[in-house]
Amino acid sequence: MTDIASLERELTERIAAAGDEPALESLRVAALGKKGSVSELLKTLGGLSPDERKIQGPLINGLRDRVAEAIATRKTALEAGALDARLAQERVDVTLPAPEIVRGTIHPVSQVQSEVTLILADLGFAVAEGPDVESDDYNFTRLNMPADHPARQMHDTFYMKPQADGTRSLLRTHTSPVQVRTMLSQKPPIRIIAPGRTYRCDSDATHSPMFHQVEGLVIDEHTHLGYLKWVLEELCKAFFEVPNVGMRFRPSHFPFTEPSLEVDIQCDRSGAQIKFGEGKDWLEIAGAGMVHPRVLEMCGVDPEIYQGFAFGMGIDRLAMLKYGIPDLRPFFDSDVRWLRHYGFGAFDAPSIDGGLSR
């Protein structure tokens, strides 16, 4: 009896005093291992009479259980302490910089092109494309600018050297040849826009030899200038993100439209930043008109049945106006400081539900 009680007392004290897991483990072996003190006691049960065993059995087994539990409890405590001690060693200066976040940008031309495309897609316009290198026929002749037409010289055309087969191409001076390609390949009704690169042999502070246009074309049986006006008004309101925008439609002249007109929007240029929807200045933003019957004819569309309107605007100019970019030339210079400042985030794609811009 006394043996068991004193053994338990001694073991309990030593378990409580164990300073680390190895010490506790050797204690466990010394007590509960094959030849441990408690195990040795358990072995004595076999030599006892049934009556003695009835008394000693529960005592020794109880001892074994309590010691095992005490060891387990102590083990948990030691583990927790060891973890705390390890964690205390693992402190990091969280003010140190993490590996750099990469931040790329979308060019304003691409962003504005997406914005315009989204607005016009919502109005049912599909996107059409054509090559940058064009034929004289598509760029001029079928747009009612025959050879020697005075309007041709206003286009400052880049020509390619004659090819081996004698043909001579040019760099398209406007996106209008895409109209020609669309009319030649599709049956009306047609409702397309054609954004893309265009080229003029002209370079100064406000002109670049390459720039971007977006062209719109609607051909059906009943389209008239009233629809054109509505499309341009809705486009401008949506694009500039203002509830109302004052617009002025002026008669003008283009060889490929008749009647032709130019479109100005009202703005206020008195302050440092241009404002739309107010003010007393007018800014030209588009050329437009009803597609010339000759153009329809030359593109295989019967002008007695179908008619339509077309409009064109400069994407770079729209970007400059909306986002306050003062100069055109840096658009194509790729100064990363400019790109970071005027560029757009990868995830800022314009959407119907999220809006055009932040």
Binding site: P150, M210, S260
Partner: protein, 798 residues
């Protein structure tokens, strides 16, 4: 096209002011570029009288003047040699802004003497470049009155941009006609009464052309005026010309300028004494030269028309007269020329010779064929009036070509094309006011006037109605929408471009947009620079070749950024590269460049400009654009602008999907680049079209709950053996069971024989039907070893 308000009122009876007129002009398609009102901009300048002019006490070349401004007499120091007592001058008080010198006048001490104002030269008022002396006003100018009035400048000047189709509005009369039609006044009668000739013209005109259409010059009229005196033209003519920025020269020259602007009719006046024999219009001979009125010699070609006498070409027809036969103060006998020329020829000649003249401006747009003779009569009348003399009879070669063409016009076209409802009677009224002849009702027969060569069809007539009514009247009409909910309108190819763009930006690249042309030398490094991709008329020598790749533009941009001190630069562009200078020979490419070391970081993290980073960026972008996992293996064989050993190609059969790698050091040197550079090019058009399936539903998900097993193997193989060969051999053992083969170690060096390398793979087995036993795993492992050994000649590393 410039004109003054008072000039307009010669032809238009109106009470409208300049502002109202300007607004109406813009609304009817004659876009006003500026309205200049000198009475307003020169309001501070007044008439003053010099009371006395003494020599400055401290400077011989300066004068000390006392000036009566009407309010007071002030002291002014003046440097003009013509400052003298009793002169009427233009005076500017202190605090006046002087436009010609772009400064505000202050009270100042000049050489120790105070000066309280200034007497102005023409240059200081921006009237001309004249600065030799101060302006001398007429003696009757009223002291204290506005200087603009005394200068005859109290007449607003309107500048209108004339579109190329409106030749009829290159004249003040034409503009007045348009305004009258738009309801802004009444057009005055401007018919010209013929001047009777007193004798046959000693000089005749002729048209000397081979048969053919169009005739280079259908009509050539003229007449002789003898006994003229070519003095300066009257004051009112001079004022009028000055107001629109023309310099008065002499009465004879001023008459032609006046009629050109007033009626849009260019004329030429020869000094008859300098002509040899008769004159004719003919084509120039190649290499023939003419000294023109601008004093320069021009060499002509056989496409151009000249006016020649019996000896030589005397003028470039429709463009500029010749100096040798021009009028001077000594001229006494003249021959007036009034002709018609083929507009296209005049345009070509003007363009080739680089001459922009008032005559060319009008002839190339097409002048009124019916005004050849009235113009000649008007010129005769004014010359007789200004210079005296006697006019001969008129001589005419050729005649007015047929210009009348009737257009069948359905008035309903107006509403159909424009959406604007205009009554038939109003349509007829507008057309008639613009000079059109209109017959019939319901279906009209409309003949445009001789001055409207631009009107050919119904759409042109609709434009006339719409512009005169004003586009403001057109009501914006909502366009019927084909679908209640907008549909996607982009083609798969267009979507790929957008996704690639966003993916690249998300991965840290900045989007650039560059010109499609580069220098021929740059193009040559990338397989270009051949004749077929050369521009004929580049804007500069370093932008003369269509780019065969996007990389040269990007590398040049990297160089510019490095020159500005940028460290690591990551750029991309999506755009066309060109295989030739023919339409359609272009492909859409997404190209990216990583240049320079990453910014130093304590973790050593950062993007490396090496081949594997280029590969990974390329794959990520390609996968985003394609919309599926890319399983196409990379292989060696990138083009010559890449490092031959550290670059690769992704190809599907003969089609190249992408290149990637480190830049060839020779190219880096050619572009003057610093540090490491890697790049990739993805050929977006080569990405296979997505398969169109009838359904959006996905196939059922098949996953296995049996435990996967991973086994590692290391092989010693030839250093040239590719990782792909080993991976493919291992995978090929059991495509059902082997889910993935990864490479986790590549080693060359100690412990591996020379010319060999050790490649370690991890093979993951994923059973689908039951848990694998050790024996099954062992059997697979042996097959893998056997397969790799067979395929590569390698051995399992001990």
């Amino acid at each position: 096209m410039k004109f003054s308000l008072s000039w307009l009122k010669d032809h238009l009876d109106t009470t409208a002011d300049a502002g109202t007129i300007a607004e109406k002009l813009t609304s009817i398609g004659l876009e006003v570029e500026s309205v200049e009102d000198k009475a307003k901009s020169l309001a501070a300048f007044t008439v003053a009288r010099v009371v006395s002019a003494e020599t400055h006490p401290n400077a011989d070349r300066l004068k000390l003047c006392m000036v009566d401004t009407g309010k007071e007499t002030v002291q002014v120091v003046c440097g003009a040699p013509n400052a003298r007592a009793d002169l009427k001058v233009v005076f500017a008080p202190p605090e006046t802004f002087i436009p010609g010198s772009n400064m505000v006048l202050k009270i100042a001490a000049i050489r120790g003497v105070e000066s309280r104002g200034m007497m102005c030269s023409e240059r200081e008022l921006e009237l001309s470049t004249e600065h030799d002396g101060i302006i001398e006003l007429n003696a009757d100018a009223v002291v204290g009155s506005p200087a603009a009035e005394a200068l005859g400048l109290n007449d607003p000047v309107i500048d209108v941009a004339i579109t190329p189709n409106r030749s009829d509005c290159t004249s003040v009369y034409g503009i007045a006609r348009d305004l009258a039609a738009a309801g802004l006044g009444t057009l005055k009668d401007a018919r010209v009464a013929p001047v009777k000739g007193g004798y046959p013209s000693p000089i005749t005109t002729a048209l000397d052309f081979a048969a053919g259409t169009p005739i280079p010059a259908p009509m050539f009229a003229g007449r002789y005026v003898r006994g003229v005196k070519n003095d300066p033209s009257p004051d009112w003519v001079q004022k009028r010309l000055k107001a629109i920025g023309l310099r008065p020269i002499s009465a004879l020259v001023d008459v032609t300028n006046l009629i050109a602007h007033d009626r849009g009719r260019p004329l030429h006046v020869f000094d008859a004494a300098k002509l040899k024999g008769n004159i004719r219009a003919r084509l120039a001979r190649d290499g023939e030269t003419v000294k023109a009125l601008d004093g320069r010699d021009y060499t002509l070609d056989a496409d151009m028309i000249v006016i020649a006498d019996d000896a030589a070409a005397r003028g470039i027809a429709g463009v500029m007269g010749g100096e040798d036969t021009g009028c001077t103060e000594a001229t006494t006998d003249v021959f007036i020329e009034s002709a018609l020329f083929d507009p296209a020829r005049i345009a070509r000649a003007g363009r080739k010779l680089g001459i922009m003249s008032d005559a060319r401006y009008r002839f190339e747009r097409g002048v009124d064929p019916e005004f050849v003779l009235p113009g000649l009569e008007l010129a005769t009348k004014l010359i007789l009036e200004f210079c005296g003399g006697e006019a001969s009879e008129v001589v005419i070669a050729g005649g007015v070509p047929e210009w009348r063409r009737a257009i069948a016009f359905d008035p309903a076209r107006v509403a159909r094309l424009s959406g604007l409802n205009v009554s038939e009677s109003e349509i007829i009224r507008i057309l008639k006011a613009l000079g059109f002849a209109v017959e019939g009702t319901g279906q009209l027969r409309v003949t445009p006037p001789s001055w409207r060569s631009d009107i050919h069809g119904q759409a042109d007539l609709v434009e006339e109605i719409v512009r005169i009514r004003g586009l403001a009247e057109i009501v914006a009409t909502p366009m019927p929408h084909p679908h209640a909910v907008a549909r996607s309108v982009l083609t798969p190819a267009q979507r790929r471009v957008g996704t690639a763009r966003r993916a690249l930006a998300a991965r840290g690249f900045h989007e650039a947009v560059h010109f499609s042309f580069i220098s021929r030398a740059q193009a040559a490094h990338f397989g270009g620079g051949d004749d077929s991709r050369q521009l004929e008329n580049p804007i500069s020598a370093d932008l003369d070749a269509l780019r065969p790749s996007l990389l040269p533009s990007l590398l040049a941009a990297i160089q510019r950024n490095q020159a500005r001190g940028a460290a690591q630069v990551t750029l991309f562009e999506i755009g066309a590269q060109f295989a030739s200078g023919k339409p359609g020979d272009q492909t859409n490419v997404a190209a990216g460049v990583i240049a320079g070391e990453p910014p130093r970081h304590w973790t050593k993290a950062g993007i490396r400009a090496d081949v594997m980073t280029a590969k990974s960026e390329m794959l990520a972008t390609l996968e985003a654009a394609w919309g599926q996992e890319v399983t196409v293996p990379a292989q060696a064989g990138a083009p010559a602008w890449y490092h031959p050993g550290r670059s690769g190609v992704l190809a599907m059969g003969p089609k190249h999907l992408a290149y990637f790698g480190e830049l060839h050091p020779r190219i880096a040197a050619a572009f003057d680049l610093k540090g490491p550079v890697s790049a990739f090019e993805i050929f977006l058009d080569a990405i296979p079209e997505p398969k169109t399936r009838g359904t959006k539903t996905r196939p059922p998900l098949e996953i296995s709950d049996f435990p996967a097993v991973e086994r590692d193997f290391a092989f010693v193989v030839d250093a040239k053996t590719t990782a792909d060969a080993i991976v493919r051999a291992a995978r090929g053992v059991d495509r059902q069971l082997i889910e993935r083969v990864g490479i986790f170690d590549v080693y060359e060096g100690k412990g591996v024989p020379e010319g060999k390398k050790s490649l370690a793979i991890a093979v993951r087995l994923q059973p689908k039907a039951k848990t694998l036993t050790e024996a099954e795993i062992e059997a697979i492992a042996q097959k893998i070893v056997a397969a790799v050994t067979k395929a590569t000649g390698g051995t399992l590393r001990a």
